[in-house]
Symmetry: C2
Subunit: 365 residues, 2 copies
DNA sequence: CTGAAAGCGCTTACAG
DNA sequence: CTGAAAGCGCTTACAG
């Protein structure tokens, strides 16, 4: 809330009009490029606009025309590279559509999400793209979003919600990653990172479990290690994988951030990722293929998802009565070094330690 | 540009008023919490507001009151973690101030920056926070920003600009980093990464050169390696450091992203960072202290900078006639493992190779 | 080709 | 305590 008419008052259409000796209607027609304006009038008006440094007040125009030229985007945490890329894609597509982005973040708090949504909605966006905070329910969103603004859920589902949804194919992705590790000979495969509260995590776990089941492997509870989806938390949580022997020899991780954190955690324990332990990520963030070892992961194309989200939410404005749509975007496995180690599933713990030492020094044990 | 009055028309103050049998003025007073409304009236109106799912039209209110409740933020690239953290800080402070963030990105293109700024300005922000695209000139910004919207330049200066500026103390930071490496015994210290086009890079180079000069060292041209400030580009550019012997034994890098890229590039050449080569970064992004080796760097506190930026740009609204202010935020050196190797500046190339091999295997040469 | 007038959804002195 | 009226900066049939 800040006064904006400091310095001399802002220039308006009327100022231009009176300076040119025409009506503001004519100036408006010039601005909208109407052919019904005499060329000479147009010239004069355009010159005056430049001379006075007039800036168009789009809010006023939108009010009058009952249109919107903005889209609200509510995410959890901009510092997640996947989210940042997604936002960049949204930004690109909105710029092309002549729309502006209203950005807010919930920081994974349902209460803050409510406040942010309310504030953004009051600015009259044409639609809202929302990655709901963990634990969001329909009743947290419905009252504040109302019935008049199209809402697109991105990446996380809300139970029983009837809004459009766009997300990556988490189930298939995690299944592909798990099958890939199985094909390398691993049998003790962990699922590492993420929170069960998030639907994307649950879906990835589902894919992981289905691949194990198909291979006739029943996962042990301690192969499932939850942690917040950040590098730091993942590095810290690494210990849990090795609490008891036999430890897993590979892990499907919740996402690349977690995978990189796990790599750090492994190195801190003198376990070389990609050689002593196989890892797959999820998202294919830019660093994934620059890491040593390069990270096997699932490419979801967050930038393209961002663009797609804009299309969905703006398209919804035209057909309000369509039923809610679930759009599942395919993902693809990108195989790199971090998962290409071979497993030694039958080694006894002692033998394994000896073998590991010998691999590390390059001398026979 | 999208129609937003799909489904039945949006509820307005007038709808609530007529449903309650009062005037819209009264409803407005209820919304603003005026004490001049009878408690019973207030109750009725509030109930009706909830019942109809009314949502306040803040744009209309802002138009009438001639105020703004938004701030425009134009950055280059959201996928830079420093930028993402900064944006998160801006977001926090704006939320507290009851303002909304209009976000756009220039992708380092002056032309796109112009279009984005114009679009955002038309929405009437109370101020603009801008990290100018490389090569921006006053004439690229002045016409589109006009004279009525306070502009704050963040992190990069524009020659001869008279706008407020906020940035980290790049000169002092790079000088501290260089002095630290000198204190470890290094004499062949590179400056790695960044583009001379950006003022922040020039300032960091200035600090680096001044520390070298004070130590009586004249830097060789090939110690200066430019590259785009991304991990990938940095990894690729690593080769340039080792093109000729004697190679540098340490590098002050433009920022943490570049430093991490350099680490990858070094590992790819079998040079262990923090042991065979000393590195300092800039920014202290979250991974810096989680990396192996942990990265010595300069903490700039991007989140706090984001908050500070909001204060400066909103504060400017009140005192339009103050001269432009340069705010330089102090930085602090965080010493970690990546820079704690000792230099061997007098080693001949051959001897150095032998020594390096012996250090790596742990056996005498 | 141009202007007068009404109206978008609000707020705010002012009168009662 | 409440309402009528004017006005924020635009747009758009409509008349001329």
């Amino acid at each position: 809330m800040t006064e904006s008419d400091h310095r001399r008052r802002r220039i308006t259409l009327a100022d231009i009009a009176s300076a040119c000796g025409v009506s503001s209607a004519t100036v408006s027609l010039v601005l909208s490029g109407s052919p019904a304006v005499a060329a000479s009038t147009r010239k004069r008006v355009e010159a005056e606009i430049v001379r006075q440094g007039y800036v168009y007040n789009r809010s006023a125009a939108n009010l009058r025309r009952k249109i919107s030229s903005s889209v609200a985007v509510v995410i959890n945490d901009l510092s997640n590279p996947f989210v940042a890329e997604f936002a960049a894609g949204v930004d690109e597509a909105l710029a092309e559509a002549g729309c502006v982005m209203l950005l807010g973040s919930s920081g994974e708090s349902v209460e803050r999400q409510r406040a942010v949504l309310q504030s953004l909605i009051e600015h009259g966006p044409a639609g809202v793209i929302l990655t709901p905070a963990e634990g969001s329910k329909v009743s947290d969103l419905q009252p504040v979003v109302g019935l008049h603004t199209p809402l697109l859920l991105f990446n996380r589902e809300v139970p029983e919600a009837k809004w459009d949804y766009l997300g990556a194919d988490n189930v298939a992705g995690a299944r592909m990653a798990t099958e890939h590790l199985l094909a390398q000979g691993h049998t003790r495969i962990a699922f590492f990172g993420g929170h069960r509260d998030s639907s994307s995590c649950r879906q990835r776990v589902e894919g992981y479990l289905s691949a194990l089941a198909e291979a006739g492997i029943s996962p042990e509870p301690r192969w499932m290690v939850e942690c917040a989806p950040t590098r730091m938390q993942a590095a810290t949580a690494t210990a849990a994988l090795f609490a008891r022997d036999p430890a897993p020899t590979a892990a499907v991780t919740y996402n690349d951030g977690v995978a990189l954190g796990l790599m750090m955690g492994l190195r801190a324990r003198n376990i070389t990722p990609g050689r002593d332990f196989a890892i797959t990520g999820f998202d294919d963030i830019p660093e994934a293929h620059a890491q040593v070892p390069a990270l096997t992961t699932l490419a979801t194309g967050p930038r393209a998802l961002g663009r797609q989200a804009v299309g969905l939410v703006l398209g919804r404005g035209n057909k309000p009565d369509l039923p809610a749509r679930r759009t599942i975007s395919p993902v693809s496995l990108v195989t790199r070094d971090s998962s290409l180690t071979y497993a030694h599933p039958l080694e006894a713990p002692a033998g394994k330690a000896a073998k590991r030492k010998s691999r590390r020094t390059g001398e026979p044990a």
